[in-house]
């Protein structure tokens, strides 16, 4: 982690995406450095979600290249993206509502115990780690890790998804509107978690409608308008919410 020149973690260059005649992304280039939280802002229909879906493997792009640590990568599916260390947390998180918190956290990467032919999960370890993670995400109430996801609130589910990304050391965590539908305490928990993620070496792309939340955590703001990037190096410490709003709406 001590390279003198910061090599970008993710570099999307000249991405185009069209749905039939509609040009959703036009020559979009986006760079995310290591240890960096990038805030992605833009009005509805600006292309934020499409850009994120391309990066997380949910939709294919029409043309353009994606590089990870300088290496060109192909992302054809969400599984590819996860394997590369790109974890996306959507508003309706991809969790199995019938399964417990612990089982969801480790789904697909279950820790095993005992001889291999027994195929036995280490449920004690899963429950313990899940319990610790839940505390770190700041789910204040005392929820046992054996609780099924179905009986959690939206914010709690969000927190579980974030905890999962954290635990498996994803290099890049994409948070799509993570603070929507969250209470004040839960929002603070998520924001604190994002900061903690950067401090422990993760990078994040943070998408939110609430500019104040973005200002609280990000290192750099990228603004999109009508499928293009119109600003990509706004420092939240050197500008104001009003100025950024002007950039988003395109009115001087």
């Amino acid at each position: 982690m001590s390279q003198p020149v910061r090599q970008p973690l993710i570099q999307m260059s000249h991405i185009y995406k069209s749905y039939g005649r509609v040009q959703a992304l036009e020559d979009v280039s986006l760079t995310v450095n290591t240890h960096e939280i990038v805030g992605l802002l833009g009005d509805n229909g600006a292309g934020k979600s499409t850009l994120i879906k391309v990066l997380s493997g949910a939709v294919p792009h029409t043309s353009g290249d994606i590089f990870m640590r300088g290496q060109k990568v192909q992302i054809h599916s969400t599984t590819d993206a996860i394997a590369l260390g790109i974890e996306t947390i959507y508003q309706d998180s991809a969790l199995v509502t019938q399964l417990s918190i612990a089982r969801n956290l480790f789904l697909g990467r279950e820790p095993m115990i005992g001889p291999r032919w027994m195929n036995r999960m280490d449920r004690k370890m899963m429950d313990r780690v899940a319990g610790e993670l839940l505390k770190r995400v700041g789910i204040g109430k005392n929820i046992p890790p054996t609780t099924p996801i179905g009986s959690l609130s939206g914010g709690e589910r969000q927190a579980v998804a974030i905890a999962r990304a954290m635990h498996f050391d994803s290099d890049l965590i994409i948070l799509d509107e993570p603070t929507n539908n969250l209470g004040v305490a839960e929002t603070q928990g998520v924001l604190r978690f994002v900061r903690g993620a950067r401090d422990s070496g993760h990078s994040c792309i943070f998408i939110a409608h609430n500019i104040h939340h973005v200002f609280q955590v990000v290192d750099r703001i990228v603004v999109m308008r009508r499928g293009r990037v119109v600003a990509d190096d706004i420092d939240p410490k050197k500008t104001t919410v009003e100025a950024v709003e002007h950039v988003i709406t395109g009115m001087e």
Partner: protein, 368 residues
């Protein structure tokens, strides 16, 4: 069965919180008076969680059945009757256990009844007219059943055709094959007599006046293994995830297609195994046997608390469901209700249990 019930905690609800020093609280209550309500509240919480478990309703129903039938006719619990009821119950039960896992993964299999009839026909045809030794014939018919299951799984997962249609088609193909190769006549089976394999599969012995078939042990093994598989293993986690939210499961790297295909194979092979056991016990391999079993088996599974839509399943519940239906069939005949009225009771039980499960589900979702 106690061990199985203990291990199903993750399928239903979290285990009740251990109430620390209840005695202490009660002691304080007698002095202060106020914390008394707290103690009863924690007891009520414990009771609530127990009641909210999907296996609770079926358990109560089974106990009620046993008590009612026994009080009307004491012969109901005689060793002779218990032995008779158990003999066929466990054969059908083997299919229901495999169906529980398959339904937890979000699919079901209508072809199990015809595989139940077809496999022994195949085995006895090989032995009678092909001179194949019994060991090999059994392996061949389990292999063929596995292939049938693989085919079902392939159609469902690769061609994305609903399992209802795929397995309905397979039901007709398999049943038709059984009728075709036998010209509709039952196969000779009495040559099995003292064969060691027949003894291992379905040999019988007496404990006191109770006649026990070896198939009961096969059933118990299947309960233990499949219960363990569903609740303790990675495969079990994948089965539940495949049924609960296949897209999310796939995104996490769960091989949903392989999981489901494997379960289709398991369900076919256990149906074949049950069919062979049944044919040896009754000394008959009838190409028409097993007709309608698929629906009775599915009824057993859903009565036990497994969700028809997938994601949640319980082996212990299925064991209860198996006994609820078989005890009902046996009991109403014993207490003098006409056997033709059997289906009325079964239908009423299914409807009642579904209403109970959906009510518990809604209350649980709203309550937390």
């Amino acid at each position: 069965m106690g061990g199985v019930s203990r291990t199903t905690d993750c399928v239903g609800l979290p285990p009740p919180p251990s109430s620390p020093t209840r005695g202490g609280v009660l002691h304080a209550a007698t002095i202060a008076g106020a914390p008394l309500s707290e103690a009863t509240a924690s007891q009520r919480l414990f009771a609530n969680k127990f009641i909210a478990r999907p296996e609770f309703g079926p358990l109560v129903l089974l106990v009620v059945e046993l008590v009612v039938f026994w009080s009307i006719n004491h012969d109901f619990l005689s060793p002779g009757n218990i032995g008779n009821t158990l003999a066929f119950t466990v054969e059908l039960g083997l299919i229901a256990l495999a169906m529980t896992l398959l339904m937890t993964s979000g699919e079901f299999d209508l072809s199990v009844g015809s595989v139940f009839g077809f496999s022994p026909v195949l085995m006895w045809t090989l032995m009678n007219s092909g001179g194949v030794p019994m060991e090999l014939a059994l392996l061949v018919c389990l292999g063929v059943a596995g292939a049938i299951g693989y085919f079902n799984g392939w159609f469902v997962t690769k061609l994305k055709i609903p399992s209802f249609l795929v397995t309905l088609g397979m039901l007709l193909v398999v049943r038709g094959t059984a009728l075709f190769i036998t010209d509709g006549f039952p196969q000779r089976t009495w040559s099995a007599g003292g064969h060691w394999l027949a003894q291992v599969l379905v040999g019988d012995f007496y404990i006191g006046g109770l006649r026990i078939y070896m198939s009961l042990f096969w059933f118990a093994i299947a309960v233990a293994v499949l219960g363990y598989l569903l609740t303790q293993t990675k495969v079990g986690n994948w089965i539940q995830a495949s049924g609960g939210n296949p897209l999310a499961a796939r995104a996490r790297g769960v091989n949903v297609n392989r999981t489901k295909t494997g379960l289709f194979m398991l369900s076919s092979m256990l149906a074949a195994f049950a069919g062979v056991i049944s044919s040896i016990r009754t000394s008959a391999a009838n190409p028409n046997s097993g007709t309608g079993y698929e629906l009775e088996v599915i009824a057993m599974v859903v009565i036990g608390g497994t969700a028809l839509t997938g994601g949640r399943g319980t082996i212990f519940g299925t064991v209860l469901g198996i006994f609820i239906l078989r005890v009902m069939r046996n009991g109403i005949v014993l207490i003098g209700v006409p056997g033709l009225a059997y289906n009325i009771f079964i239908g009423a039980i299914i409807l009642g249990m579904m209403a109970l499960h959906s009510w518990l589900e809604r209350r649980h979702q709203a309550g937390t």
